[in-house]
C-alpha cells in the first residue's frame, strides 16, 4: 500500500536538495561560528549568507533576523520579549482565539504574571475583524499578536489592514507566519509588522530551526542567556547545518512559489471535486477566498473524528484533527470552537488535510476516493 501524506501543516518532508546541502555543511563546515580561526570564520560566513537570504525573502534587513530553535521559540521570544521590555508602558495585549498554542499558552502565562490579554473572536469563516482589533486597542496596549494564516483552517488574516491600523499606535505588531511563509509573498515593510515568526520544518527544511524577524526599533528582552550570538539577542551556538538547510529550503520556495501555489490549490479543488463525484457529504470549514493554498479543513456530518482518523490511517492516508501539537489528546479544536461555538457537531467531525511536496494529482484523487468510501461507511 502506498501511503499518502496529507499532513504537511504538521510537518513536511525535507527537500532532497536541503538534505544534500546540510550533508555537505555537516561534513565540511563543522566549525563554531564564534571561533576566530578558519573553521569558525567559514561557518560564520554560512550563517551570514543565510541570514541575508532569509531577510531578503521578507523584505527585511539582514540584522533584523534572529535564528531560533523553531516556531515555538520565535513566538515565545516575540511575546515574552516584548511584554517584558514594554511592561513599564502598559500591560495589555491583543490576540485572537485561534492562534497556535505557542502564542496562546505564552499569552496565558503572561496573564498569570499580571498582564491583561484580549482574545478576539473570529467570524464563521475564521477571520478576525479589523474593527474588533480597533475596538480592543487601548492606550496601554503594548502588543498585538495575530497569525498570518491559520494552521487548522488555513484562513488568512487581514494582516496588512491591521498593520495599517497600528501604524500610528505604539503597540508592537507580531504575526505568526509559520504556516504562511513560503506560500505567501510576505513583505514586512508593506505589512507594517514589527515581529514575524517562521519555522523551517513547515517548508521542507529541517526541524529545530526557525527565525524571528524583529524591526530594529523593537527592544526585546532576551530569553536565553549565554554567549553573545545573534547580536546578544539569542545565546547558544548557531545551528550551522540547519541554518544552511533552512536557506536552501527558502531558496526553493521563493523560486517555485507561484507554481507551487497553483499546484496545491489544484490538489485541493481536485480533492473536493472527487469527494463530490463519489457522493461523500462534506462541508468546507473556512472560506476558499482567504485561504492558504495547502490547508483544507472539511467537516463530514455524521462521522466521528477519531473513527475517521483511525480508518484513514488504516487506508494509508495521513491527515489530522487539528494542529499536531494538540492532536495527541483530540481535545476539541479551539479554532473550531471559536468559529462555530462549543455545541457545534463540527467539533467532532472535522478533519484537516494539508498538501505539499511529493503529493501528486493521482494521490489527491485516490485519497479522495478512499475517504469517500470511509465516510459513506461511517456516516450515520
Amino acid at each position: 500500500m502506498e501511503r499518502i501524506y496529507l499532513d504537511h501543516a504538521a510537518t513536511s518532508p525535507m527537500h532532497p536538495e536541503v538534505i544534500e546541502r546540510m550533508t555537505e555543511v555537516m561534513k565540511s563546515e563543522y566549525g563554531n561560528p564564534s571561533s576566530i580561526h578558519y573553521f569558525g570564520r567559514s561557518a560564520r560566513h554560512i550563517v551570514d549568507e543565510a541570514r541575508s537570504a532569509l531577510a531578503n525573502s521578507i523584505g527585511a534587513k539582514t540584522n533584523d533576523i534572529i535564528f531560533t530553535s523553531g516556531g515555538t521559540e520565535a513566538d515565545n521570544h516575540a511575546i515574552f520579549g516584548t511584554a517584558e521590555s514594554c511592561r513599564h508602558r502598559g500591560k495589555h495585549i491583543i490576540t485572537t482565539q485561534i492562534e497556535h498554542h505557542a502564542v496562546l499558552h505564552a499569552c496565558e502565562e503572561l496573564e498569570k504574571q499580571g498582564f491583561e490579554v484580549t482574545y478576539l473572536p473570529v467570524d464563521p469563516n475564521g477571520r478576525v475583524l479589523v474593527r474588533d482589533v480597533e475596538d480592543a486597542l487601548r492606550e496601554d496596549t503594548i502588543l498585538v499578536t495575530i497569525m498570518y494564516g491559520n494552521n487548522e483552517i488555513g484562513t488568512l488574516q487581514p494582516i496588512k489592514e491591521i498593520g495599517e491600523l497600528l501604524a500610528e499606535h505604539p503597540a508592537k505588531f507580531h504575526t505568526d507566519a509559520v504556516q504562511a511563509y513560503g506560500l505567501e509573498r510576505i513583505d514586512v515593510q508593506e505589512l507594517k509588522v514589527d515581529l514575524l515568526s517562521v519555522s523551517a520544518h513547515k517548508i521542507n527544511g529541517p526541524k529545530g530551526i526557525g527565525f524571528l524577524y524583529a524591526h530594529p526599533d523593537v527592544k526585546l528582552s532576551s530569553r536565553l542567556f549565554g554567549g553573545e550570538q545573534e547580536r546578544k539577542r539569542r545565546a547558544g551556538t548557531e545551528n550551522v547545518p540547519s541554518i544552511a538547510g533552512f536557506q536552501e529550503a527558502v531558496r526553493i520556495t521563493q523560486n517555485e512559489m507561484e507554481t507551487k501555489r497553483d499546484e496545491l490549490h489544484s490538489f485541493k479543488m481536485l480533492f473536493m471535486n472527487k469527494l463530490k463525484q463519489e457522493d461523500a457529504v462534506f462541508e468546507l470549514n473556512g472560506s476558499l477566498d482567504y485561504s492558504l493554498p495547502h490547508v483544507l479543513n472539511l467537516s463530514f456530518p455524521g462521522t466521528n473524528v477519531e473513527a475517521m482518523l483511525v480508518n484513514l490511517d488504516l487506508a494509508g492516508i495521513a491527515a489530522s484533527s487539528g494542529s499536531a501539537c494538540t492532536a495527541g489528546s483530540i481535545d476539541p479544536s479551539h479554532v473550531l470552537v471559536s468559529m462555530f461555538g462549543k455545541g457545534s457537531d463540527k467539533l467532532q467531525n472535522s478533519i484537516r488535510f494539508s498538501f505539499g511536496l511529493f503529493n501528486t494529482k493521482e494521490q489527491a484523487e485516490r485519497a479522495a476516493e478512499q475517504i469517500a468510501k470511509i465516510v459513506k461507511r461511517l456516516a450515520k
Binding site: 499532513d7 525535507m14 564564534s34 497556535h100 498554542h101 505564552a106 549565554g226 494542529s323
Partner: protein, 381 residues
Amino acid sequence: MIYFDNSATTKPYKEVLESFIKVSSEYFGNPSSLHGFGGKAERLLMQAREQIAHLLNVKHNEVYFTSGGTESNNLAIKGTALMHRKRGRHIITTGLEHASVKEAMDQLKELGCSISIIAPDKNGIVHAEDIEKEITPETILVSVMHVNNEIGSIQPIKEIGEMLKKHSRVVFHVDNVQGIGKVPLDLYQASVDLCTISAHKFHGLKGNGVLFIRDGLRLSPLLSGGNQEWKMRSGTENVAGIVAMAKALRLTINNMERRLSQILSIKRYIFEEMNKIEGITVHTPEKNSAPHIVNFSIEGFKAEVFVHALGERGIYISTTSACSSKKAAASSTLMAMGIPEKDAKSAVRISLSYDNTMEEAEVFIEAVKENVIRLREVMKS
C-alpha cells in the same frame, strides 16, 4: 589540517550524519501526529530517549530534549528559580561557569535573586566545604560545572552532591557539556538533580541538547506552546537531530572506553613538551583535569597573534571559549583562579577529540616552538 578546537565544537561522526539523513528523509513525521508517519517518528524519539537514558544510566522519563547546552542551562537555572521563588531566592554557583550559566545568574540577580559565586583555588577547582559555608535556609539551587571549558579542571561533583544530601531542599545542577564522554560521572551516585549536555560537543549536531531532570523534580518551563516533553519544553521535536545525538553519544562513550589511554598519552606528551619551552605557563592543572583540554600562556604574546600564527599552518586552536572569543577581555575563569591579567590575556586553549593522533601533537609542538622563537626574534629586533 589539525583541528585542536574540539571544546568549541566537534566534527560530526559519519554515522551520525547517516542517521540524520535517514531519519530526515524517511521518518519526517511530527511525533505528535496520530497517523502512521507521526507514530513512526514518535517511536524513533522514544528509542533515542531510551538509548540516551541507558547511556547516562538514568530513567527515560528523566531525559528532556532541548535546542542545546545554552537552553538546557537556562531551563535548569531559571526554571528552578521561578518554581521555587516563594521558598527562597538564594543561589550558589562558581566563578568558573560557562556564559550560559553566568549570564542566566546575572539575569536572576536583576530580578531580585541573590547569587553567591564561589571562587576556585589556584588549580581552578572549587571545594564542597566552601559551597556549604554559603548555604542558607533561602538557598534553592547550587549550579556547578563538571569540567571547565577553558582550562579543563574537574570539579568534585560527587563530594558536592554528598554534601548537599544534608541540605535536601537545595536543587543541584551540573553543566556537563564538556565532561560528557570524557570524564565519567554517575548522576545518581553524585546526587545530581539537573544535568546539561550538548550534542555538538560530542560529534553530534548543533541545535540539540539534553537536560536530565531527576524524577519528581519540578521546573517552571521556559517555552510555552504545544506541551511537548511532558509540558516541560514546547516545540516540535527535532527527531532527526535527536536520533543523531543518541548515535553520537553511543559512539563517544564507546570511544571513551577504547581510546581514553591514547588521548591521555597525547595530553601527557603536550604537557611535558610545553614545560620544556621557555616562557610558557600551563594553566591546566596536571591532576584533576579532563583528558582533552590544555590551556597555556606564552609570555609576551597576545593570544590572537598566536592563534592566527598557528592557523596559517593549518593548526586550529582557540583563545578562550568560542562563545566569548571575540571579546578581547581576559578570561574570567583564569582571573578567578588568581592568574594575573597579563597572563590571562595571552592564554590559548587546545582541545582534543578521540580522533586526534600523537603525530598531530608532535607537529603542533614543533609549530609552537618555531613560533615562540620566531616571534621572540621579531620582538627583539
